[in-house]
Symmetry: D2
Subunit: 424 residues, 4 copies
């Protein structure tokens, strides 16, 4: 990619972030209802800070920070970079205002424009590489922005919609039952997983390495709301036998009785979506469940979740996996698409729609080393206590996802667009 | 007061509330940094809800609520009125927006306009009385608005000013030492305290009743920052001997080492004010201290705090007490005024400037009864675990305060404009 | 009192403490089910530490501490004396064992024996005074021992009895209704309260001083379980209107629905007593309620609690008050006595049986000063956030109580033998 | 094993448990200083309950429970079996007493005696199998007993010894430096892990299955206190770069600055052992560290922890691994043994001495299924959020450990005898 191509990509990626907040009121950009959720205006500032800190500060001649306190306010978790606002207190800061932060973004964009056009040939490779990292980082925050906006609006007693539309048909009383999922067979053996090609990838996808798996059957489609409702009707949330011990404790402590965003009003199920409160769509993929719920459902169904190696190998060796993708951020629906009633016996919706919980803990690949500088904190220090998710969701940018991509969250988290597919 | 006079007073009082938020950014009206502090836009909505609930709903013909969910959102603590948003979660709600709430206020104002002009003679007395209560309630929230705004801006790493001005001279290096405070003698005996005249008062000021006090000496001025600094320099925050046990525990738990809003940068003391961060003004009254700190200072100084009866009797029998008042909200400084270096041997600044902690617990007066309806919850249910404060502050509306007024807060609270005067 | 009389009194008081633990198993002396409750063996050690610290250390020639760490382990709250085990962690210490602590007591007793017989005439007055204080302290811990033992055994799933006996008749189905309580009239006026005579008293009972009270009516008997049950049956624990706001929050947080130690098994009420689980005795005084519950009951009944001044004046001016006392520790029942069905129109059970919650906050008397040394921490530093109780209980030593005695607890505490009497 | 052999083994195993508490005072058996630690008398009761519940209740003719409430008191975590005392409240129960529980054990032993001699041939296989499980369970609690006793005594300000002896020489000032650890090479390839032979094993060790590992180097000895001290002296506990994010948060929250049981008095290091407080033995294996500390040390040292597969394969293919074992419970030292200064280039102390943290999360083996009854809760429901430890420790019974044994704890736990060995 040459300099002008890179800057074009920079521009278009940055604009998407800003478009995502345009349906919001100023007030929506300020609040932080739980620690996991960051205020939208913080996301806007933090992604600018990332470019300022890792590109402008080290490479731009005569660099001066936009504001001396912004590094304190917009540093997320980089101990190398210094002190920062406590994560739980991001929503207590009314200043800088949204307008201040948009100015900060403009100033950063100008800085990056100067940098990309003016950087010496010596530094160009580094700058290009870091810019690509910054843009991937920006894309991760585009997904987080939508995830967090959904939490903010979906936990307001007024249930405001993010976008008004009637594109989500309800299937609540639908009679067209889906056909049963089919199992796709994957032969056991030694395979290579992890990132292998030239393109961009995160350090946690490497080194690529060989793994041994047994014969496997993987469902050709995602688990649906209807199937999950059967689990609920069968007393799934009242029966400890299906649950891991930590999961059962979490359920009792938080009084879980259904997925996040589900509401039962007068015996009828509704679900908050970014289009507002909607009757539950039975044939849509289950979404916003924790690993504990995915695991309990699988246990109840007499099946299991695939490991991350099994998932990745399946996605790689079946050439149709990517072409049968579901929705991505670019589709502008921000909600997973309904499952078709006559699916071919291929893997469907492996990519997009919902992140799929795997059965694997997030651990370093054999031989993994993170870099010794601040960017070494990007992924490596989180490799404990979390589970791997695969495939991206309806709020993931399409060119951001790949088979080797490893997303990770603690097993009790539900605010991501997370669902599942069964194996046996 | 006739109908048009009352509505005029209604209009002017309501406008003051709205003027108070005009220097703010929208973002400032949303956040709630601690449970005690409510988001400014919540104050705007809650005071409208008070008029809607206690006046429009029962007395306005064909009343319809502005929005079916607003009672849930803007009820503060009235169990009679029903369910409500948890107090600690007011700052998690981005909607209704500030604009929505200003519309709500307009609609309420129209309703009150219709009500006052159109209510039957039968209901007029009740409506007039409740309107007066609503306006006193509105005034209390004007003070709380400024108190909470100070907390929001004063805990932001950028220390933004609420109003820009240079009206606060620093006395940090001042050589003009204040003269020592003088003690005014009040003879012991039987006095009547509580509200006696015709005008408006809260139920907690009645019934007026006789009390017996001993001879008393009360300082003619407030304790200053300079005097409090001596307490700090003498190790006051490190020496358990000065402190009540609960106070010492609170100090250790919260790591207190100075009053709220004080900062020591490179050995120099600063104080956040609504005019921004300022060098500490030595001859200004101490402000933003808890009862525990006031009590510890008095103990260190070998003096004591006056009881609420002693304070009220002193304010009533010395005719100059009110004329020597300090600043009120109307002065527009929102900060207590400097103490003059040549004070007359009279009581100064008894009213305005800072609330004065008394040595008295907030308990019902003999024979006190609260009404059986929702408004009975206004004061009565808080009569335990709190201490009485007297005299109003620089953010209290001038016509809101009187000698019998009983303000009350838990002994660990510091975000009010609270200071002290010593007795012996 | 001469030296041998004092030592005799010392001996007999100390023996009572040890007798109180004789019905216990070793295991019972170790545990601390809540922070308020101390392990019985800690009480035994702490009361010895008190004599060692305040008598042996300063006055005994060639004093050496029994064990270098015991001051750390058995100091309760005296900051002057130094570091100590956190209050909540007393129940985590298996050592020193009960036997070690009994040895510590023996050694202390020998030390006191030497001190009393051998101290110089110069120090004799001080030693005699401090010994008397130590014995009063010991008596307070005799009461606490029984209170804490009741909590330990009464919260064990096996409900073991402390003493086996059948002395508590049940009145659950009794038809002999009590006559209604009568109101005794006390004329208003100026009275002196606080300790006046020569004998021992705590510093918080002084200085005696004049107070002004209005005419008063005080019930001639305590509130009964039966009356309290009516409050429960009338929905008292579900109706916020009767409760102070902090009380209502406490009730909801702790899910209170009846007094401490009450259990409803299959629709029948039982009460844990030191004689084991018993059917609820309807005509016994209500016991183990918090101030919040006492206040809510009074509010429901349309009455109020007396202030501490009203209570003390009534007890002092009516000469029969003490002669009509209820049970004390010496009676060995450790449970309040049933109320007689034909009471004379005099004050009954003012002393003994149950501590009576007053309507007064625990504050210093006018002119109160605590001493500057460690013993100044005995009472003074607790004078905030607590309510006064009067009259002693069935686990108070008889010669420990007097009309001016001020007991004090936070308004949410229920593990003391605390009940109430109404006024109007 | 025939009936009399089984009963003999039962008898001897049960006696060991009781011998382990013989050095204790009654008081030591009662307390629970942290939730992880159970009171010793609870362990005694729980292991009896296990036999009563899973053997006597289903198989013994005319079975009657020893006490109707004991199942409530001594059930650990079996939801199938019913309600139970909250884990954190085990230390609040003084009853049943130690003596009661020893009686309970006797009664259970008689029941098992009758059962083993009298059970029908039909049930014999089941009974034999469950008895073996019960004895393995008893052995796990023997280890836990010592682990918990160490915590109880080691956190007492008196630091009492469990056994008095001078068998732990101090190496603090020792000059005989250990030789550097040697790396043993293990060739990569496909190996089988998990339990394969006939003997007893837990369900979590099965199914045995093939795994693929790369070439590996494993240190021939454990990491020592001296090596760990270098990490501390190099600022290891102050430098975030070595730590996983969750580990760094744990360190800061708990103010960790050295392993559990280490104390620095006047610049000299001591370590609490079951023999009392001792100068730190430099050449002893590091013990009582969390996974976070093990991982941080490895990161600082430029090495890594082995995976559980790598560890098990190494222990299996190197025939000397078991013969070079360290200490077990039977040795009666209850402390890991010093590392010899001239070690052969073989794997030493793989078994015994300290549990070795692996780099692997505790997850089900491919094809793992737990049984549907209460015993299915034994292991399976804990398979999330924990890390695997291998090899047993100096408080593990020797015949209880094997190469396929999978122990598991949360990564922040330090009260187990846990240490590490490095790989690369």
């Amino acid at each position: 990619m040459n300099r002008s191509e890179l800057f074009e990509r920079y521009q278009s990626t940055r604009r998407i972030t800003e478009q995502l907040i345009s349906p919001l009121e100023v007030e929506d950009t300020v609040v932080q209802p739980i620690m996991d959720v960051s205020p939208p205006k913080w996301h806007l500032g933090h992604t600018s800070w990332f470019f300022e800190t890792f590109l402008l500060a080290p490479y731009l001649t005569n660099f001066r920070p936009f504001h001396p306190k912004y590094s304190f306010i917009f540093n997320s978790y980089y101990d190398h970079v210094g002190q920062r606002v406590e994560r739980a207190k991001r929503g207590l800061l009314s200043r800088p205002t949204l307008k201040d932060i948009l100015d900060y973004r403009k100033s950063t964009d100008q800085g990056i424009c100067h940098l990309i056009s003016g950087v010496s040939e010596d530094d160009w490779q580094d700058v290009a590489k870091l810019t690509e990292l910054g843009l991937n980082h920006e894309q991760q925050h585009q997904e987080l922005l939508l995830t967090d906006i959904k939490y903010i609006l979906g936990h307001n007693p007024l249930f405001p919609a993010y976008i008004e539309s009637n594109t989500i048909p309800s299937n609540h009383d639908s009679n067209d039952a889906l056909t049963q999922p089919k199992f796709i067979e994957i032969p056991g053996g030694i395979y290579t997983i992890g990132h292998q090609s030239e393109g961009f990838h995160y350090d946690n996808e490497s080194p690529s390495h060989e793994v041994l798996i047994s014969d496997l059957k993987l469902q050709n489609r995602l688990v649906t709301n209807k199937e999950y409702l059967e689990f609920i009707h069968d007393g799934g949330y009242q029966d400890f036998r299906h649950w891991l011990s930590d999961g059962w404790d979490t359920l009792k402590k938080n009084k879980w009785s259904s997925p996040l965003y589900w509401h039962n009003f007068d015996g009828k199920w509704f679900e908050y979506t970014l289009h507002g409160l909607q009757p539950l769509a039975l044939n849509a993929p289950i979404c916003h469940i924790s690993f504990y719920e995915a695991e309990a459902f699988a246990s109840w169904a007499g099946k299991r979740l695939p490991t991350e190696a099994e998932w990745e190998i399946s996605a790689k060796i079946l050439p149709d996996a990517f072409s049968n993708s579901g929705r991505f951020l670019e589709n502008g629906h921000y909600h997973p698409q309904m499952i078709s009633s006559d699916l071919t016996p291929q893997l469907h919706q492996m990519f997009g729609d919902v992140w799929e919980w795997s059965a694997s803990s997030y651990l370093p690949y054999p031989g993994y080393r993170h870099s010794a500088d601040a960017l070494g904190e990007y992924n490596g220090k989180f490799m404990v206590n979390q589970m791997v998710l695969k495939g991206g969701s309806c709020v993931t940018p399409k060119d951001h996802i790949r088979a080797s991509y490893r997303n990770f969250f603690h097993p009790d988290k539900r605010w991501q667009f997370s669902g599942m597919r069964l194996a046996e």
